[in-house]
């Protein structure tokens, strides 16, 4: 497979995953906001939305200006910010357009439709109510694209690069979210109202579509430790960091096998270490150490995997490649 094509598929997938995560964060926080009594301090608007921005890695060009609607609208539709959902989807489509001969026509049509839905909404959505009812549509269409991808594209190398993009983005996003909430737990807001923990715990799980799955595993008993355990180490839930890393690694193995003779030792090592740091620990191990440092190291390793992939398959040096061929 052409390196450029692999690169486009990988980024298409990352951008779509990023869009989905952003939609969910906005959606969940808009809904949580409604349960906050205006009199008691609780989290407060500023703190809530700053937390959202932190979870998204503090996107450039978007800042808290005191108006939550403006912020959510910007995060969804602003053409100035790369992180805005509309731009993530436009980027994904642009990547797809460059490799149209590699995608199934169903995939292309679905992505195209999503893009047009998004740009139409960009023109039309101009109120809080409209935004709230629009956001679920995006998630729905994104899920549809994933379904179409899995059922119409052959699961060869290109599909593995799509998997890789999706899960590396997801692993990093969930880790970042855990990290931000972890800071929060060290320093909870003063005078938090009854039910605060429930709401915030449930909210965090919802940000990862994990509410129901968590309840199935632990019942509706929300403790920070269990939530962390579930989102970080659960081996079966598709948004947990461990699950994402498992998938990421199996995509890497499949790509390594397909691309034949390439020496991927370093990538095997880096991704293997990342997987091990999630598979062979239990939550007590994690919580007994510096959790922030642990999460940072996960993020750091994800970044390393990305760089190694790029150097090995996409932008390798000609000299090395000639020496090997």
């Amino acid at each position: 497979m052409l390196s450029r094509v692999a690169d486009s598929l990988y980024w298409m997938s990352r951008y779509l995953e990023r869009a989905e995560h952003t939609v969910r964060l906005i959606d969940v926080n808009m809904s949580l906001m409604l349960d906050e009594a205006s009199t008691t301090a609780n989290l407060g608007l500023e703190r809530r939305w700053s937390r959202v921005l932190a979870s998204l890695g503090r996107p450039a060009e978007i800042e808290w200006s005191g108006d939550f609607y403006q912020l959510t609208h910007d995060l969804t539709f602003s053409t100035r910010s790369h992180a805005a959902i509309v731009n993530c989807i436009a980027q994904a489509r642009e990547n797809a357009r460059q490799v149209r001969d590699e995608l199934s026509s169903e995939q292309w049509q679905q992505l195209n439709r999503l893009y047009h839905t998004m740009t139409a909404a960009q023109r039309e959505v101009s109120s809080y109510n409209a935004l709230t009812s629009f956001l679920p549509t995006v998630v729905y269409e994104l899920h549809q694209f994933q379904g179409v991808t899995d059922s119409t594209m052959s699961h060869g190398e290109g599909w593995q690069f799509i998997q890789l993009g999706r899960y590396i983005e997801r692993a990093a996003a969930t880790t970042r979210l855990l990290d931000v909430y972890h800071q929060e737990n060290i320093d909870p807001p003063n005078g938090a109202a009854v039910g605060y923990e429930f709401l915030e715990g449930a909210g965090m799980l919802r940000c990862c579509s994990a509410f129901e799955a968590y309840c199935n595993a632990y019942t509706a008993d929300f403790t920070p430790e269990r939530i962390t355990e579930f989102l970080l180490l659960n081996p079966d839930f598709p948004h947990s960091v461990r699950y994402s890393v498992d998938c990421l690694r199996s995509a890497l193995m499949a790509i390594g096998a397909k691309s034949g003779l390439r020496v991927a030792d370093e990538l095997v090592r880096v991704s293997g270490r990342l997987q091990a740091s999630l598979s062979f620990v239990d939550i007590e191990d994690v919580l007994s150490q510096d959790v922030g440092a642990y999460l940072s190291s996960i993020l750091q390793q994800c970044r390393q995997v990305h760089e190694r992939v790029f150097r090995l398959y996409i932008q390798y040096s000609i000299q090395t490649a000639l020496a090997m061929s």
Partner: protein, 502 residues
């Protein structure tokens, strides 16, 4: 709407439509016959045999049914994303190619003649290129003046003495034909560099089969679907020696090129990689593409990038569309490009005037397809005639295409004619003149009725082991009433072309 029963009971003749009947059938109310050759009706108003079933079917079809079919065709093009790019527009740069659902029908007898004529012509032009880039016999014999060849913008001195596989320069071409008043097909232009449009030919056919299966069955239409396979076989036959399992790729300028859809389509149909210049690496005169499994050697490139832009080291240095060093790899014989470099020489508009002579010279035969009469401005007699008749002729700059640098005499102002007079006198080599042509019209579905519109025909010729023309081609239509411009950027569309066994 009155249905036509096929047999005219009043006159007892089996002729379906006559002048009077045209008015009886509401579909044909606006169908005008005049001086131009009509593809469906003879000069006396009789339906030509190959159009009888088509007209019969459309005359019976209820209006709503026709509308439904037209909508289905439009939708099919839209969802398949069969689009072309309009330059210079920011939003919505992708447009659906305008399409007419009535097929253009050509009888097999007519087609056989076209086919033989094209094979003869491409064969001769190919020999001409080989000769000019090697021994130059035709120049020594004075059949084509040296100065015309050497002053041609697309003449590539770099190609002198270079041996190309099988001596094939023009592997893929598409020749523009017009049908003139007499009913004869003449050649308007040879497109020997990177002709486009073949994907529209292939996708139109697919859409037609879906929409009019019944009509399709009623005719014995010769298939064209094997074009991609033939193209692949042609490219394979041109692989450098010692590469029995050649890697073949399509080279595209990229997503912003107006024919990008076609590039992806052909790559997909042939099952080969679609590469851009940045995917290629040339090392030690060998071309590689960057893949996830490392560098992979490339043997044959079906290039859709012009000579000028294909190698910044050999040609235009500012080009970012090509791959540096490609030409040297080609010279070294490590890679084949289709088409070869320098084929633009043979479709230069001044060389065009010599093509009949070129055919006689190499084939020792009379040309089967004639040229449009062409006046060369370098010839004093021709020039004098042209300057005296600027209001009746079409003047074209030789290096331009797509309707640029043209004077259409009958539609010009005195000032424009004066401007061209000066231009011609200043640089006669750069201009030719041709009579204004009244070319044929074919029936099209317009606002619920059938009306005639001007059409041309571009068949596609492949030349590897031997020259092959798939039966059909791209029929381009000037959709505006009275218009002679078939370019898609200026209100032109296309229709499916059926070559039918009689």
């Amino acid at each position: 709407m009155s249905a036509n029963t096929g047999m005219d009971t009043e006159t007892g003749q089996s002729r379906l439509f006559s002048d009077t009947e045209q008015f009886r059938n509401s579909m044909l109310r606006k169908y005008v016959l005049d001086g131009a050759y009509d593809e469906m009706f003879s000069a006396t108003g009789e339906t030509r045999p190959q159009y009888r079933r088509l007209l019969d079917m459309f005359a019976r079809m209820p209006q709503e049914e026709i509308e439904r079919c037209k909508k289905a065709a439009d939708l099919s093009f839209l969802t398949q994303g069969i689009t072309f790019t309009v330059y210079g527009e920011e939003q919505g740069t992708e447009r659906v190619f305008p399409y007419d659902v009535l097929p253009r029908v050509i009888s097999n007898a007519e087609w056989t003649h076209i086919e033989r004529g094209l094979v003869q012509r491409i064969g001769a032009l190919n020999m001409f290129l080989h000769d000019v880039y090697n021994d130059g016999r035709i120049l020594a014999d004075g059949k084509v003046p040296r100065e015309v060849v050497y002053t041609c913008r697309h003449f590539r001195r770099e190609m002198r003495g270079l041996q190309v596989p099988r001596n094939i320069y023009i592997a893929v071409s598409g020749t523009d034909l017009l049908r003139v008043q007499s009913g004869e097909f003449v050649v308007l232009e040879d497109n020997l560099r990177v002709p486009s449009g073949v994907s529209y030919m292939l996708t139109s056919r697919r859409v037609m089969k879906r929409i009019f299966p019944q009509l399709f069955r009623a005719y014995d239409v010769r298939p064209i679907e094997h074009y991609s396979q033939l193209l692949l076989a042609t490219l394979r036959s041109l692989a450098p020696e010692g590469r029995p399992e050649p890697t073949i790729v399509v080279l595209t300028p990229g997503i912003f090129n107006s024919a990008y859809f076609e590039h992806t389509y052909l790559a997909r149909q042939m099952g080969i990689e679609l590469v851009e210049g940045r995917d290629l690496v040339i090392h030690d005169n060998v071309v590689y593409m960057r893949t996830t499994a490392g560098l992979k050697r490339v043997d044959v490139i079906y290039r859709r990038v012009d000579d000028d832009f294909i190698d910044p080291l050999a040609f235009r240095a500012e080009s970012i569309l090509g791959a540096a060093g490609l030409f040297n790899a080609y010279r070294a014989g490590n890679v084949t490009l289709a088409n070869a470099f320098g084929t633009g020489l043979a479709d230069d508009k001044a060389i065009y005037a010599y093509v009949p002579e070129i055919i006689r010279y190499y084939m020792d035969e009379e040309p089967l397809l004639n040229n449009v009469e062409t006046f060369l401005m370098t010839n004093p007699v021709h020039r004098q005639h042209t300057l005296a008749n600027l209001d009746k002729l079409v003047v074209k700059a030789v290096g331009e295409s797509g309707g640029y640098g043209m004077l259409i005499g009958p539609q010009s102002t005195a000032a424009q004619r004066e401007e061209f007079r000066q231009r011609i006198e200043a640089d006669p080599r750069n201009y030719i003149a041709q009579p204004t042509l009244e070319f044929s019209r074919a029936p099209c579905l317009m606002d619920g009725g059938i009306q005639p519109r001007h059409v041309d025909l571009r068949p596609y010729i492949l030349f590897g082991d031997k020259a092959t023309v798939v039966p059909g081609g791209l029929t381009r239509v000037a959709l505006k009433e009275g218009s002679l411009v078939v370019n898609s950027s200026q209100g032109g569309g296309s229709k499916d072309t059926w070559v039918v066994n009689d």
